[in-house]
Each structure stands twice: as C-alpha cells, then as structure tokens.
Chain length 345, copies 4
C-alpha cells in the first residue's frame, strides 16, 4: 500500500484525488492538508465524502508528511520552501498546479506574469504526460502534472507532430471547457451560475498559460520550435474539455490512414481511445474517468486535418492523470484503480 498525502484537499482537484484514491486498491490516504478544514473531516467541505473513513484535515506540515506519506499530491500551489525537504526525505511529489511545468522558468515568468517561486524545484521535475514520458516518470521523484487544456491538446496533436503529418506552425487549437477548472475559491461574479448558464465565451485569447506547455511538448516531439494558437472557451457545464485542433496536412491523406497512425501511436496507451472513422469525441463519454477520446477527419477540400479530443478536466486533466503518474512511479500497473468508466448520462 502506498501511503498518500494530499495538500489542498478542500479544492476540486483535492476532492477528485480523494474520490479516486478511496477506491484505489494499492493506496491508503494518510494525510489530508486543508487550512479551511483543519481539525475536521473533509466531509465538512464536501458532504459527499461523509461516510468514508479518512484522516482529519490538518494544516500543512512537512514533518508530518515525511513521517506519514510515500507520496504527496500537491492539489494547490504553495508550500515552496518545504518541497525540497520533503523530496530529500524520500517522499515523492506530484504537483497538480502549473508551478513546475517548465524547465526554462523564463517561460513561466513570461506567461504567468510573475517571478518563478522556486526554480530549484522546477529543475527537478518531470513533465507528467505519461503517454509520452513513461520512462522518465517511472524514474522521477517530482512530477509536474500537465495542465488540463495541455494534456487534452498534446494527446490530440502529438501524432501529427511526431510523424510530421502537418506543416510546422499551422496548428490551431480551439478548446471548450467546463468551468470547474476555475476552482472552488474563485468566487467572482464571472463564475456565478447566472452568468455562465446559457452562455459561452472565449477568454485569455492568444494569451493562455497552457499554450507554452503544449508548445514545449510538441517541440520535444518534432525537434524544432513549435508555435501554435490556442483559444480556451468556457461553456455551460461543470466538467470536461473538448479540443478541436486544426493543421495543414503536409501531404494529402485519407481519414482512415491518419486514424491508423493514431492507433499505432497510442497502441500502448490504455487510457487513449481512438474512435472509429466518422465518430467524434463527446466530453460526457469521459466524465469522471481518466480516459481521453480522440476522433479526426481529414478534409481533402481544404487540405486540413481536424482532430478532436475529449477528457474530464478533473480526471485525465488533473487527478486521474496524477494517479496514473503515481502508478508508474511506484512500479504498479499504469491502470490500477483507474479503469473506471465514465458516469453516463
């Protein structure tokens, strides 16, 4: 049994980690960090967790984590001054927020608009796109879990770039997201039900901080600097991300041929489902799961390829992906505790 600590337990990602780890056969939650719930059962923040045996929440305490945990999930940003100590005492860390995703912290500073809180820790992190970096993840003690938009985008277009199917610089990613990605503490007018219901809008156009993550990964795959356009949208639902990705085909191809390349590329990826020709992903088919569905269409008329991917932003886009990384880091089957079908309808 892997002993699990979760910091940021009272946020949405924290709750999703708890939900998934409670049914994980090789995991035992031994520490829950939450300032707002300190001293109480996490059910006081998430009544859905009432009825489950869990340690009471505690404030963040490195010594306690070192004593009680094999791995710490950071479900929120912060605690930077304690992380090296935790790592050096043999506790692995899986970081869900965006802090450690860039080797080159100047990219962080440009897109996040602030100084990097801890370049030393960032230097030690492996980017946790498990499907692309399984061996590195297995050897890592610190994982930077990908952004929700980033993992959906990277899985959608990785084969295009890795197999040189599209012209460099031609990729455009248009993403539609449920609003839970904004988190539980962002109690701004913009996130009120009345404002978001029956509504859709883009935000951070040409300026979203997951853009350079996607570019970093695609550049590793192609060996050259990749640049793309990324536009996120909020749509009136809670969970799920759909990406619609456009690229100019380097050479004319048939839909079925591209699908075959995708199937091969993801042959060893149990959580990536390449849909049959003519079927397109729908986010609800992944809700609550760690799966990513991919569908595509080559358009001979315009010479473009259109690839779509669907994930649950809190599943494959956060907690599920993090647990998948944990499984690999601890030498377990990648799928342990994660072969959970979506909640449908």
């Amino acid at each position: 049994m892997v002993k699990i600590g979760i910091a940021g337990a009272s946020g949405y990602a924290g709750n999703e980690l708890i939900r998934l780890l409670l049914t994980h056969p090789e995991a035992q939650i031994t520490y829950l960090g939450s300032e707002s719930c300190a001293g109480r059962h996490i059910g006081s923040a998430f009544p859905g967790l009432l009825g489950h045996k869990l340690p009471d929440c505690a404030i963040f305490d490195a010594a306690s984590i070192i004593e009680n945990c094999d791995v710490l999930f950071l479900a929120r940003s912060g605690y930077f001054s304690s992380l090296l100590e935790i790592l050096d005492n043999g506790v692995k860390i899986i970081s869900v927020p965006g802090d450690f995703r860039f080797k080159d912290t100047s990219i962080y500073e440009k897109w996040y608009g602030k100084q990097h809180p801890s370049p030393e820790v960032a230097a030690r992190a492996v980017y946790g796109a498990t499907e692309l970096h399984r061996d590195e993840v297995a050897a890592a003690d610190l994982i930077a879990n990908p952004g929700c938009y980033a993992v959906a985008s990277i899985l959608a277009v990785a084969p295009l770039v890795a197999k040189d199917l599209v012209k460099s610089g031609s990729i455009i990613i248009d993403a539609k997201s449920g609003v839970s990605g904004a988190g539980r503490t962002k109690t701004e007018q913009a996130y009120l039900f009345s404002e978001l219901d029956q509504n859709v809008r883009a935000y951070r156009v040409a300026n979203h901080q997951h853009t350079p993550e996607i570019e970093q990964e695609l550049s590793r795959l192609s060996g050259r600097k990749e640049m793309l356009s990324f536009t996120p949208h909020l749509i009136p639902m809670t969970r799920g991300i759909l990406t619609t990705c456009y690229g100019e085909l380097a050479n004319q191809m048939q839909t079925e041929d591209v699908l075959e390349i995708y199937r091969e590329f993801y042959a060893d990826a149990p959580f990536v489902i390449v849909l049959p020709k003519g079927e397109y992903p729908a986010t609800k088919n992944t809700l609550g799961s760690n799966f990513c569905h991919i569908g595509l269409e080559a358009d001979p008329r315009t010479g473009r390829i259109i690839v779509m991917s669907a994930i649950d932003n809190l599943g494959k886009g956060a907690a599920g992906q993090a647990i998948q990384n944990m499984n690999v880091m601890f030498g377990m089957e990648e799928t342990v505790g994660l072969m959970i079908p979506p909640v449908y309808p």
Copy 2:
C-alpha cells in the same frame, strides 16, 4: 466471483450497472443482453465503455443466461415468460423496473393502467428496500428493486411512520428529479434539451405510479393503511432526486430530537447519511454514488416536520440499490464495490 448477466444493457440503468460492476471486486459480467447492440461491444451504445473488456451483447436467451450467470439484473421490463425457468434453474433475478413491486397485483393494475404481465412471478418477489428488509433480501431469489422516487421517499419518512412521529394521513412528498429517469428510448418532444433546459414542471400530479409503492412500505411499517400525496417534478438536470416531505407532528418535537431518532434508525445503514442539524441534502453530494443523504427541520410554528432526502436516481434509485441487494443475496458485505464517493462537482 459472482457471474453477472444484465438484460437491457443499452439503457441508462444497464449502463450504470455495468459501470458499477466493472469495479466490483466480487463480480464478473458474463452476459449482456441488448437487442439493439446484439453482436457488438456495448461501447457502440455507450462509447464511454470502450476500452473495457466485456462480453459482446446478445439477444435475450434464457438458456445462455442459465449457463453463464449466477444472477440476472433485469434493467428493463419484459421477458416474462422466461423468468420462472431462469429462477428455477438457480439463477437469482434482480428486477429494476416496476413489474414485481406489489404483492397485490390489483394495485399494479390500477396505477399502471394495464393487466399485470406475470402475477406468478410477482408473488415470489421481495421488495428490495435493503435498509428495511435485509433478512428477506438475503433469503430471496427474486428482488423487485424499488422505484427511484420510492426509495428516496421511503428512506426519508420511514422513521416518522415507524416511530409514530406524525399523524396518519398527513404526509406530503414533493419530489424533484433529474430527467434521466425517463430513459434513453423515450425520444419524445418533452424530453428534448431545448424543452427541459431552464424549465421545471410537475407531472402525473396525484397520479404517479410510485405512490402506492411508498404507501405499501409505510403501511408495513405502521401496521395500518397509510395514504399520502406525492408530486414528481422534472428539473433541468440529468441525475438526482430530492424529496421534500411534510408531516404533521403527533407531538411537538425539536429538530435535534428527531435527528437523533433518525440516526438510531439508520445506525446499521452504511449508505444512509443523516446530516447534522442545519444542513440539508443536495443531490450533487450523491451523484454517481449509492448514498442517500437526509436532513430535516421541525417547525414549532406550524407543528410540521420537514424531511429532505437526496439520492442519485440511477444509483441508490436503481443500479446501486440493485447491487446492494445482490451483495446481501450472495452473503457478501453490503458495501462491497459500492463505497464510491460521488462525482463532485
């Protein structure tokens, strides 16, 4: 391992049974019945099940069920002529639709408006409100799983009636439901997204077929004929039922005293959570789970007690409840495979 057959696999209840049984450690799905998907993986109806190893769907065939299954979940109505044969060959049956919930089939005929399809089978059934009839369920080979509204209502008011807290005849149950209860094949105008979104309405007022189920159970508890008003409403969400139940207190009581009676009544019921004073159930805290949340308020001003319960209509209201019954029927821990927290948010 219990070998599981599911008839009606391509409906919502069928899908939910598959979802829950895929992670049940003591269950193995060996038969999936679906006319519309016969010969194909159930993923053709529910793409979210792609990636999971499951037997291909087949048309209903009693011989095959008898050969391959220890228990058959009937997730749809029908197949009446085969059920006795199946039972007599040692395959237990758990029936999810309303066919076998009344000992007195004249009640069925009155409220369903048609002749009972199989009184002989109905006579053999045990009403599967596990919390109230655990021993009978354990001894049964045929379970009539309660209706979704019924189980939410019965759990909400059972202690009131069993402990004689309210005046006979004074109970009113106002229920609000997500629309998945209508099922996947009812493709009528009334169930279109555009018609239900931003909308709420009552239906079958004073006339809903779950009413006599609730009355039958309450009458068993009190030993006298109980009658109540029940009004179902469709609200713009997919899953979840909230009941708001009103009764006239026989004697003035404090909220905390009634709560204490509820806590005792449900002390051995792992899936019933009695909320602390001042907290009320919200359906989302049960979504995707087998839990029922209950909260209440005694109102000294009017002399009424108001009890609210929340469930997932496809969980505790259908598939989860059915599996809970299976666990008890096969001598397993009641909670095996069902201690799954809700999907939140």
Copy 3:
C-alpha cells in the same frame, strides 16, 4: 411619457427594468443610479445594453431624481434617508426589495433579523400585488413590490383562501426557483456554477422571509390569521419559479369546478393564465414575461388540492410586476409595454 429613474441599475432587477422599459411606449428612462458604473453607460455592466441610448449612470442623488423623474424604481435596498423627500416632491416610488412589505414592522424585524430601517416610509406603502389591490395601487405613491416567491405563491392560493375552499392552516407551499434571485453581487461559493449545476437543495427551511408576506396577504383575504409552511429550493436554472401548493379541501371538489372558480377569480387579470384541465405550468412558458401560469388538480383520493404556479422571478416576480404597478399608478392600461411573450425555448 413617464420619466423613469432606476436606482440599482447594475443589478439583475435593474437590468430587467431597463430591458422592459426600453420597449415601453409610454416610458422614458431619465435616470440610472449605480455606484459601480457611475459616469459610464450601463453597457459596461451589461454589455447586452450596448447599442441602446440611455443616460450615463450616476451615484444616488435625490435632487437629481426629483428634477428628472416622475417615478423611481428602487431595484436595490438602501437610500432610506432620502425617500420621504423624494415622495414629498411628487416622485412616486416603487420599491423592489423587501423593505416596505409589512405594515407591522415587527414582522420584518422577526423574519429579517434586524431593525427596520424606516418604519415611517413603510407605513406609507401599498403592497403591490396588483391583481388583489388594483385600486389601492392606483392611489398609492409608494409601492412595496411583492417578493418573487410571494407573488407566485399568493396568486396560486388566493382563490383557495378567498373562496374558503381549503381548511385553515392546511396550506403547504413547496417552491423551486432559478438562482438569479440571489442577485449579481452575492459572489459566494454556494452560487458558483460548479456548485449549482446538476444540483438541487432546499434552503431556509421553515424560515424564509417571504413566508410572512404570503401569510399577510392570505390573512387579508380570509379575514383570519393564516399560517402556512413554505420551502424554497434552488434548482439549476437561472430564471423562473414554480410553486407546488397543497391544501386540504374543506369539501370534496372536482378539478374542473376549482378551475372554474380560478377562471372567475382572475377574469380581469390579464397576466394570469389559468391552464386547461390536465395541463400544468412550466416556468419556461413564462420566461422573460410578466405572465403567471396556474394549473391544478383536485385529488379525491387524499382530499387534497394541488395548485401549481409558474412565473419568471425577474418578470412577474420583480421588474414586470413593478412596471404593471407603474402602469396602474399612472392611469395607463395595466398591460402597456408588458404584453411580451416569453422567450421560448
């Protein structure tokens, strides 16, 4: 042309007043009060109002209102020290929040849990349930517009009480509301999209401040002190209130007979639609309008009557009702500018 001032223009009720008054043929908006938008077009708060000619917003200023307006809509609470001055200078006031709805301000203090801000002003107010008090409204210079839940409830049960159809004390009102009633500035966690979507819960059980409003009106109708139970619920939609009202029939009656009494009672009420037998109100059929739909069912089995009403909480429940009162106060046709069908779907 009636010259209109609106204080609280940047709230939801303010926006709805602007929307309706922009197409009102006898109204001209001459003053918009909003602290947060002062000096700017209201389109900075509600971009949907861009493209419409409107006075820039200003901070609250009694002198300016007196100079420019024939009537002031108070779309928010406050400004108590200026109201008598405004009234005494001949500007009528229609107050949308709950400040002036009780003659007996001790009721306000009990249910709102604070001292009344201005009993002197309250004493001057007429309760603006136009259908019940048309003559008083016509003569008033200060209207206390009814609460959204209150108007839906009062219209639903007024004939029952006025015509002595139900036993005194037997009324229970179970209301389901969209969440826009919470307003735009209540940026609390509970009102986030992610928390409310796919969710329903009761709140302020046996304790909601619209209860005594309904009781006050019903008591006027029956001539005795009426008491009832009222339970509000939030459901996942933005606009709309459905009430489901239960009462014990004093004498057995047929549905059609009760309907006929309702039709007569509301014969002169152009905004109250009594639906045919067997049809029940749906909130979406009133969305964006000033209409109230009513349907009902007498249940011979239990001796109860079940009446349902639907309104738009921002229409008949706030801005529409307020304008209806204005029409009557200024001697216009009650329906001027308000015969607007709902937005459907």
Copy 4:
C-alpha cells in the same frame, strides 16, 4: 400595418417570429400556418402564447395567404409548388430554411445531398444578409434568410476579407451552438436532455451545409473564390452561437487597428456591436435579441487574427434577421420592432 403570414408556426423559428412580431408596431399577424395545430390557437403548441390575440392556426393555403398577407415568413421548408403563385400575387416571401440560399443550385445539391426542390424560385431570391446587401434586400420580393451559423460567421469575417486583411484560404471558423437549431420535431436520442447536458461535441466536421453559404458571401466580397474550414459544435445550452474565427494576417497589425476597421465597416449597422479592445462576445449578451457582438485579438506572436462573434441563433440567426429584412423590404426603419435588449441573465 404590414399584414403577416407565418408558415411553420409551431416550430421554434415560427414561435420566435410570433414573439417578435407581437410587439412590432408596424406588423399585424393575419395568418398562422401549422398542420399540427390547425384549427387551434398556437398556444396549444406554445403555452407561452396563451393570452395573446392571434388568428387560429390553419393548414397551408396559398389563396388564403394571398388574400390576407403582405408578406409570408416561411419558418419551415416545403410548399414549393405554391411559392411562385404567392410571389406573383404580390405577397413577398422571406424564407428561413436553407432552400433558396444558392444562386448555383448545384452547390445546394452537393452539400444538402439531394436535388434542389425549386431552382426557379431560388433564382429569384436575394441572400438576406442585410448588413451586406441592404439595397438588394430593399428591392427583393423573395429573401433567402441566412443560416444561423452563416450569419454569425459572415459578420465576423466579412471585414477581414473585404479589406484584404488575411491571406486567402487561411480562414478557419470554429462555431459553438445551443441546440435549439436542431428544431422541435427532431426527437432523436441525440437531442435528449440527458445526452446533451454536461456534454460538448463536434458534428458534420468538414461537411456542414452552412459552409458554402459563408464561402459564397466571402467570395462576393473578395471577388475571388474563398474556401474555409467550418466546424460546428453542440454545447449544453438552448440558444446562442459563438464563432471563433482564425485567419493569417496578410500584414502584421495591432488589435486596435483592426477594431477600427471593423467599427468603420459596421458604422451603419445598428445591430452589430464591435466591442472595445480586450472584451470578447458572450452569447448571453445577445439572447433573445437581434444583435451581433464582435470582439477580436491580433496575435503578433503567431501572425494570426482571432475574431469572435455572438448571436442568438433564433434571433439574428433566424427570426430577428428575417424581420430586419422585412423592415427593409417594406421601406421601414431597419430597427423597427427590433431594438429589444437581450434577456439577461
């Protein structure tokens, strides 16, 4: 007063036409065609229209239309054999479905996959994008109202093409739509609430029939054959379309410079609102209205321009646009009866 006939009154577009025309000061509805409601008030299909004086519905009858109407709105496809007769008798026609949008009916046949029902009528039609063809509309007796996606897309990118701001062939349009566009009679599983709620998916990728409409209009603007990619998506809301349009800038430009070009281009278009720099359109700001909101961002990093537009698919995308065309055809102010703010929230 213009005497109005509407064929297809019991569909969503028909209902929206009625809603808008009931408050139009220069219009009088004299004929409502609906097979399903023949002989009855349209309130039997749309209870929200109860309380409004309207002619009873009738089956389609050219003679009656010729006798009673100045203009016929075709809110549904069909009646082809009668249209020339109606036109030749001086009744103008505004056709909302896709039948008459292509001069070259071979384009219709390619994208709609069937023979054109009436090329002779199509030849007579003017494409009703009022902002682009005001003079032609004024002179027309038959208008082909644009498709909902088409009008949102055309207004978004017209200035880019007309002013040669982007490279030919570089435009990609990613559209997100509420589901009311599917209509009320398409009672298929895919349009059930339970299937669409919490869900987003693309459909008809590289294959949607509004694509050639957009291309036809852009080609007229640029004088060369324009080709683009268009991808529609269904998102969980009822009304509204957001387009996100991408193009490669022919020359590097600043956001403010492009905005200025847009403002000039639409200087005489009262229903097109060009938003300030940094603000992006949200569909809810147009719900129920005839407005189109446009926002944009030039991205110096990638050399792309991203333009977004929002409309109500039943407003500017159908009924509102149709009435705008009627206003122009009958020599009225373009805005008469249409300066209606959106319903918000």
